[in-house]
């Protein structure tokens, strides 16, 4: 941890420890970030990255350790202190008030006033001004709830800049962005750096790390285990430091593959002969905002096929998936599983007909956070664990133990509430339930299956998806990660404005091409 210093330090955290009850999120972690650099903080899920940054931002206090910002000891400071000292944190889960406007969110806590009143006009003007300065253009009068994730991300960054942040901390800002948005963000961050600012960025994407940062700190199990100068290292070395074992990277540099991972190559035999497993025809779905959130979409998926949908979030993917899953009423159109019309069926009926669903929002839909892992593992199958109305506790626990082992859910305690798990492990619970041994399904809806999940878990989930395809399941995959869609899918569609603008074999697609369709640079064929 001793790299020669060329410029003064913006942030120096030393020997930081922090526990949540029995969980030791940070153990003697140290971090040094020079003024004017972009510094990447990487590590597996639950490594303690977010915690360390929350301590830096004053949202949490360390149990022990010291912390300097710009040479001043700021150990134990509070959020307002941090803001005043120019530290701005963009949190992993957005800290925006959905019912307020962009401008109101921007100025909250540091509001312009006129004659004692809140000056909304000035707030809107400030959004505009800042937007022009940074290129993060957005309309100040829009409600946050109407924004796409990328737009919300911009507001978060604007917020920190509005408060005069010189040290910008971003916790997984790219996890929810589309490639063009990621590019925009990178530009913004470089501009911040070039203006003398300091950036700390947490990400699970090593390509971004390589592309963007000057220095890298790696965390593992609460400790800071390595520090690299970016130009002196490579993804394999970083990944090895992260997981603490030898790894091999795929050529696309997006996922780490260990020796056990099944091949990504498609198996030779094709499934064209089989009947369609999922049939969607002329589907129209309304949302609270738009009557045609999904606008006349048709497609089919064969058994043994992965059909990927790419597109910037908020273009109807969520509604499409929910309508197929029975969670949202379809205005018109047809949904069929095999030869059964399920357009009006309940989620339970669809599940019984062989539909499995990994929802995009695991904390809201996918899990009951206060239920134990075991109880979560039977959600949707509870009727199969019932004997004469009573739940069969023994069978449930046995089943849970098996799934926990098979999917390596940690800690392996079936009675632990789901709330106590890290994000990656929460996702594994969902995946285990929807794809695990207890599930007899023919169609899988996988919505953002690896969002915010660490490399090890991504690898695992991908291998599960591929194994499912090999087993003849029909899979609808929606992901914000283009390379994920491209590498796993047999066919891909790009969805914008509620419509499929293009459907093509994945083999013919490239990220660039899809990006052009997504941004509208290329129109539907």
């Amino acid at each position: 941890m001793t790299t020669p210093r060329t410029s003064p330090l913006a942030v120096r955290m030393h020997d930081i420890s922090k526990s949540f009850g029995p969980v030791r999120a940070n153990r003697n972690a140290s971090l040094e970030v020079a003024v004017g650099e972009i510094h990447a903080l990487v590590g597996e899920n639950g490594a303690g990255k977010s915690t360390l940054m929350r301590i830096l931002g004053g949202l949490l206090n360390a149990d022990s350790g010291i912390m300097d910002v710009n040479g001043r000891d700021v150990t134990g400071w509070s959020t307002p202190d941090a803001i005043a000292a120019g530290v701005g944190v963009v949190h992993q889960h957005f800290m925006l008030v959905p019912t307020l406007t962009v401008a109101e969110n921007l100025v909250l806590g540091k509001e312009p006033t006129r004659g004692g009143q809140f000056d909304n006009r000035r707030a809107i003007a400030d959004v505009k001004r800042l937007g022009e300065e940074t290129g993060l253009v957005i309309d100040g009068t829009r409600l946050i709830s109407d924004l796409s994730v990328g737009e919300a991300q911009r507001v978060e960054i604007l917020k920190t800049l509005y408060r005069g942040a010189k040290i910008l901390v971003l916790d997984e800002p790219t996890a929810v962005l589309s490639p063009p948005e990621v590019k925009d963000l990178a530009q913004v961050l470089r501009r911040v750096r070039d203006g003398g600012g300091t950036v700390i960025i947490i990400t699970h994407r090593l390509d971004e790390v390589m592309d963007l940062s000057e220095n890298i700190t790696v965390m593992r199990a609460g400790e800071t285990v390595a520090r690299f100068r970016t130009r002196d290292t490579n993804p394999a070395e970083i990944a090895q430091a992260m997981v603490g074992r030898h790894v091999r990277l795929t050529t696309r540099e997006f996922a780490i593959v260990t020796e056990t991972t099944p091949s990504l190559q498609r198996s030779a035999e094709s499934h064209t002969a089989a009947a369609d497993a999922l049939i969607v025809r002329d589907l129209v779905v309304a949302s609270s905002r738009k009557p045609h959130e999904v606008d006349t979409v048709s497609f089919t998926i064969h058994p043994g096929e992965i059909f990927g949908i790419a597109g910037v979030e908020g273009n109807g993917q969520t509604e499409l998936i929910e309508a197929i899953a029975g969670l949202r009423h379809a205005t018109t159109g047809y949904v069929g599983i095999g030869n059964r019309d399920v357009t009006a069926a309940s989620p339970r009926e669809r599940a019984d007909l062989g539909l499995s669903h990994i929802p995009e929002d695991r904390q809201r839909r996918g899990l009951i956070l206060d239920y134990s892992i075991a109880d979560n593992l039977i959600l949707g199958m509870q009727h199969r664990f019932t004997r004469r109305g009573a739940l069969d506790a023994h069978a449930i626990t046995e089943y849970a133990r098996a799934q926990i082992a098979a999917f390596d859910i940690r800690p392996p305690d079936p009675l632990l509430p789901a709330r106590a798990l890290s994000g990656g492990n929460q996702q594994k619970v969902v995946v285990a339930r929807e794809m695990g041994g207890g599930r007899d399904y023919s169609v899988l809806l996988a919505s953002q299956p690896t969002r915010g999940v660490d490399v090890g878990a991504i690898e695992f989930i991908h291998s599960q998806l591929i194994a499912a395809r090999e087993a003849g399941k029909a899979i609808l995959l929606v992901s914000a990660e283009l390379n994920e869609v491209l590498s796993l899918s047999d066919r891909v569609a790009v969805m914008t404005g509620g419509r499929f603008v293009v459907v093509m074999p994945a083999a013919d697609a490239t990220e660039e091409l899809l990006g052009e369709y997504m941004t509208g640079a290329r129109a539907a064929a």
Partner: protein
């Protein structure tokens, strides 16, 4: 998970104890302001409630009704619904029980008559509970308002019925039932002579066990709690949220309605306008102090009943107003000390975990919870 269970028990017991202590001090101050010796007064309060069989019988009687309304509130609460309509449901149940008992011929087999009376009470309470349930599910009408409003409506309806249809002249009650009287406790244990306590306590215990079993051991309970905790996830899990909400509200009404038997079949043998007064609200406090657990509710109900009955024994020395104040103070103290004590216990445990591992002496300056 033995140690966890112990922690849970510690936490469940410790907090109320702290609260009761706080209430004691508040009570002392009140008593001293009336120039009475707290020692004597507390002794009287205990003697009047648990000190003799009669007083204890009265405590049991009061606790019975409170347990029913408390469990009703808790049942709905577990599904994420807030049933403020306990009073109306209880009253409707009481009237139904009386009507059944009145309609049956004299000499009708007792057990059967009691069961029919219970059934009537449960059904009437269920109907009153189903209305806000339906309004919620069908129109999205907020059950807090509809249950508050329905209380007024139901009480007015019952009053109308008593005033115009079936009444002993010069009174506000129905004629006595012909069948279905639930035996008094004193029929078994003569020491309880004169107290209103009756075998409805058995119904309470059965209801509590049934509720616990349903809530924590059956698929219905699993689904109900899921809806209460995370309706979106429940819907995703194939649970019909609407059906669960509707049935939870209805069953909540059933439980409250069943409470009507205590007064009607067990005590007075007739329905009297206004017998339910105030029990709905106190039921909310009982449910929440009992942490929405049926057995916790039984204990909480006993506690409130003790205060109420003991307060009567004090009546000659300090005004009953003091007991009113005390009740409020106790609830606030319990509600406030439970999370606080939890936090302290958690902190203690955390220090235990930390000590052997970390050399650093720096103590946490702030609880983690203070971050938000």
């Amino acid at each position: 998970m033995k140690p966890e269970r112990r922690e849970k028990i510690e936490e469940a017991l410790f907090a109320p104890l702290v609260a009761i202590l706080i209430a004691f001090v508040a009570g002392d101050i009140l008593m001293l302001s009336f120039n009475q010796s707290p020692f004597v007064v507390w002794r009287l309060l205990l003697e009047g409630s648990w000190g003799n069989a009669y007083g204890f019988g009265q405590v049991l009687y009061k606790a019975t009704t409170l347990s029913f309304t408390g469990m009703a509130v808790a049942f709905a609460y577990r599904a994420g619904l807030f049933n403020i309509g306990g009073e109306g449901q209880l009253a409707a149940g009481g009237l139904a029980a009386a009507l059944v008992g009145f309609a049956l011929p004299v000499g009708f087999p007792a057990i059967l008559a009691i069961l029919l009376g219970c059934l009537g009470a449960a059904a009437a309470g269920g109907v009153v509970g189903a209305v806000p349930g339906y309004l919620r599910v069908r129109f999205g009408a907020h059950e807090v308002i509809t249950t508050i409003m329905l209380n007024f409506v139901v009480l007015a309806l019952l009053n109308w019925f008593i005033a115009t249809k079936l009444r002993v002249p010069e009174t506000l009650h129905t004629p006595e039932i012909h069948a279905g009287a639930i035996p008094r406790l004193s029929a078994i244990l003569p020491a309880f002579h004169g107290s209103a306590a009756n075998l409805s306590v058995i119904a309470v215990i059965i209801t509590a066990v049934a509720m616990w079993y349903y809530m924590f051991r059956t698929r219905g309970g699993y689904e109900l709690r899921a809806v209460g905790l995370q309706p979106d996830a429940a819907e995703y899990g194939g649970i019909s949220v609407r059906r669960v909400l509707f049935s939870a509200m209805t069953i909540s009404g059933v439980i409250a309605g069943l409470g009507g038997i205590n007064f009607v079949l067990g005590y007075k043998y007739y329905y009297e306008d206004g017998f339910a007064g105030g029990t709905g609200f106190l039921g909310i406090a009982v449910a929440l102090v009992g942490r929405n657990n049926p057995f916790g509710i039984l204990i909480a109900a006993l506690f409130f009943a003790t205060l109420s009955q003991g307060g009567l024994a004090l009546n000659a020395f300090v005004p009953k107003q003091m007991v009113d104040v005390l009740q409020g103070v106790v609830i606030i103290a319990i509600a406030a000390s439970v999370p606080e004590v939890q936090r302290i216990l958690l902190g203690a445990r955390k220090r235990l975990v930390d000590k052997p591992l970390s050399e650093s002496a720096a103590a946490p300056t702030q609880p983690p919870a203070a971050a938000v």
